[in-house]
């Protein structure tokens, strides 16, 4: 018979019956979607009223390359866009003449366009109607978030669009920054929390339609956290924000909670467990807000979810197989009721997506939306003995992990101490060993490994002049801008950093004065220093 388990280790029976569904879940599954606690969906009509957003990451090379790719995707069915910035420069807030960048200048532009000033953002966003398109300015890494948001918002403002009408989402994700993609230099996590609270408060005051920051459980999960750990850690992160704003006392949790309830999950190859995870997340968010914070605003109680398919599930070998994987992982998100979806390129393990791979990702989404009939019925798994049982089990384990994090002193403490890193690493090693032993089959990698010629594709290589182009633009902006205004706004930014003013106000002024990303980074490094990375090796 064998020992069947979900990827996070939950035992599975051959089949399920009424006795497997806890009473509470039996009652909940009799409610409709859009009814609290939203187990069955955040909205009553789900995809009949509005299909999920087709929301792909995109960017490479020079700003004009990124602009062309985004417009290509929008013309091919994307209904929003996510800017990808060059990680060398953006994640570290370096300009392209920083010695660490110069030392590997050929890498520049490989993972996103180099965007170090308002001029670059104007190029990237050229001809894209920001008033009617849902945008994500990038800024996944916490210290980059305020700069990316300020630039995007300033481009909109210069076009005469009121910030209060702008729709989109920030990111500033702790999982990416302090767990999944640790950079060479980063502001300490406690400072990152301050930045995020500043963004949340700024949006609460000026931008009610904008999701200020988006907690991306994805980045925890693709670093090793299993499904229930991803959930537990995500809500532990949310609690840091909610407690943080409550402590500041400027806004009530009721006013702010809605902005925090835009989150991001990983879709993996464990189809059923992922559906259970996303279903459980809506109930958990509702219960957390109701019970811990007494939130009554119904809009806030509805969790809005973006799902991104797992990059780590995409294989280097036989890459066209990844088209099937992207479809399956995306399907899980849709069956669970995600509000928006990104499907990784089939060349994910080789490079950032080629135009063809990118088009394939949006085509898969179009096929799911238009050919399958999937939009007709909300929460199709609702009431399934198996799914309700699994959802209840995932929820129970997620709260237990949430409590473990609280016992560690909270989410940020669990990052500062390396506790969460160790949890993720245990799973990473375990999974690698199961693949090595053949216990976990990965098609084309450890089984079915004949790599026939038609499977072969090359890695996408972007234009090779991204660093040179950025150096030119850097010289030009330093020559042409109003130097005095740039210096003054930087000084204001530094003053806000050293005090307790909202960092977004001077950041908006600074980017409007054509201050560069490296100059902002220098201020932050000077004021806040560096996070002490807790991974011992």
């Amino acid at each position: 018979m064998g020992d069947w388990r979900t990827s996070s280790g939950i035992p599975l029976k051959n089949h399920y019956g009424p006795e497997d569904v806890p009473d509470a879940y039996r009652e909940l599954s009799a409610k409709g979607p859009g009814e609290p606690p939203f187990l069955r969906g955040s909205y009553p009509e789900m995809y009949r009223a509005q299909p999920w957003r087709i929301f792909q990451l995109s960017g490479f090379g020079n700003p004009k390359d990124e602009n062309e790719r985004i417009r290509f995707l929008l013309a091919n069915g994307s209904t929003g866009f996510i800017l990808e910035h060059d990680r060398n420069t953006a994640d570290h807030l370096y300009d392209v003449d920083h010695p660490d960048v110069v030392a590997r200048r050929e890498d520049v532009g490989l993972t996103g366009a180099v965007t170090f000033s308002i001029r670059d953002y104007e190029t990237i966003l050229d001809q894209i109607p920001l008033e009617s398109t849902y945008g994500h300015p990038g800024g996944g890494v916490v210290q980059h978030g305020p700069f990316a948001l300020a630039n995007y918002w300033t481009v909109a403002r210069r076009r005469g669009i009121e910030l209060s009408r702008l729709r989109g989402t920030g990111q500033s994700d702790f999982f990416l920054t302090y767990l999944g993609c640790i950079t060479k230099q980063q502001v300490p996590a406690t400072v990152g929390l301050r930045f995020n609270l500043d963004i949340i408060e700024f949006c609460t005051e000026h931008m009610p339609l904008w999701v200020p920051v988006s907690i991306a459980g994805y980045n925890g999960a693709d670093t090793g956290l299993n499904a229930y750990q991803e959930l537990g850690a995500l809500f532990a992160n949310a609690v840091e924000y909610l407690d943080g704003v409550a402590k500041r006392g400027r806004f009530s949790v009721d006013e702010l909670a809605r902005g925090i309830g835009g989150v991001n999950f990983r879709g993996s190859m464990d189809l059923f467990e992922d559906i259970a995870k996303i279903r459980a997340s809506r109930k958990m968010w509702h219960d957390l807000l109701r019970e811990r914070y007494r939130v009554t605003d119904e809009k806030a109680l509805r969790l809005r979810i973006h799902t991104l398919t797992a990059g780590s599930a995409m294989t280097y070998q036989q890459p066209l197989n990844n088209i099937a994987r992207g479809t399956i992982m995306g399907l899980a998100g849709v069956l669970a009721g995600t509000q928006s979806l990104g499907i990784s390129g089939y060349d994910e393990a080789l490079s950032i997506p080629s135009e063809h791979a990118h088009q394939m990702s949006v085509r898969i989404q179009a096929i799911l939306q238009h050919e399958t009939g999937i939009r007709a019925v909300a929460d199709p798994f609702g009431g399934s003995y198996f799914m309700e049982s699994l959802t209840a089990e995932v929820e129970e384990r997620a709260w237990a992990f949430f409590d473990e994090i609280q016992d560690q002193g909270g989410f940020i403490a669990s990052l500062d101490s390396g506790w969460l890193h160790r949890k993720a690493a245990e799973n990473q090693i375990d999974e690698a060993q199961r693949v090595a032993s053949g216990e976990k089959v990965v098609v084309g990698v450890n089984e079915f490994t004949d790599d026939l010629a038609p499977f072969e594709i090359g890695a996408f290589e972007h234009v090779s002049d991204a660093w040179e182009g950025a150096m030119e633009r850097l010289k030009t902006i330093r020559r042409e801008r109003d130097q005095r205004r740039a210096t003054e706004t930087l000084r204001e930014l530094e003053r806000a950093c050293r005090g307790d003013g909202n960092i977004m106000v001077p950041m908006m002024e600074a980017v409007d004065a054509e201050v560069t990303m490296g100059e902002v980074g220098a201020v932050l490094r000077d004021v806040f220093g560096d996070w002490d990375v807790p991974i011992q090796f």
Binding site: R87, N88, D91, H92, D100, V101, A103, R104, E106, D107, L110, T111, G180, C181, I182, T183, K184, D222, T223, G224, S312, T315, Y316, Q317, A349, L350, S351, A425, Q428, I429, A432, Q433, A436, V442, G444, V445, N446, E456, I457, G458, A459, E461, I535, F537
Partner: protein
């Protein structure tokens, strides 16, 4: 006196994807290697560390373009570091031959951990001071 063979492990780029390199480093350590984890490092830093630590193998986690890897290998050889180079990460299929031509042992995503260990033992054994 035999000692554990030493592997220097470095990330060539400033991209922060650590999962692969941490799994490989931990596997090598469990297999009896002494792992010097340099983290994100440029050519000069890698050469300096390889010389100072007198390592048996230089392990590179590649997340960027081939020119950056070639610069590191050039610098190593110019400074007289003879340690063989192993590289893993998102290595574009079209670059494999060029890197292999420089004597680099390649382990793209999906490579078997036991193959990495076997190759590391062979390369370290070539320097004749290992008990492995």
């Amino acid at each position: 006196m035999a000692r554990s063979p030493k592997v220097l492990v470095a990330k060539t780029g400033l991209d922060g994807h650590w999962r692969g390199v941490l799994v490989v480093a931990s596997t090598l350590r469990d297999a009896g290697f002494e792992v010097i984890m340099l983290g994100m490092a440029n050519a000069d830093e890698i050469v300096a560390s390889a010389v100072q630590e007198d390592v048996d193998i230089v392990g590179l986690n590649v997340g960027g373009r081939i020119e950056v890897v070639e610069r590191i290998i050039d610098r190593l050889r110019n400074e007289g570091v003879a340690a063989p180079v192993m590289a893993g990460g998102t290595i574009a299929p079209q670059w494999q031959e060029r890197l292999q031509g420089l004597g680099v042992e390649l382990f793209p995503p999906g490579s078997a951990l036991k193959d990495i260990v076997t190759t590391a033992r062979r390369l370290a054994g070539g320097r004749e001071r290992s008990e492995l």
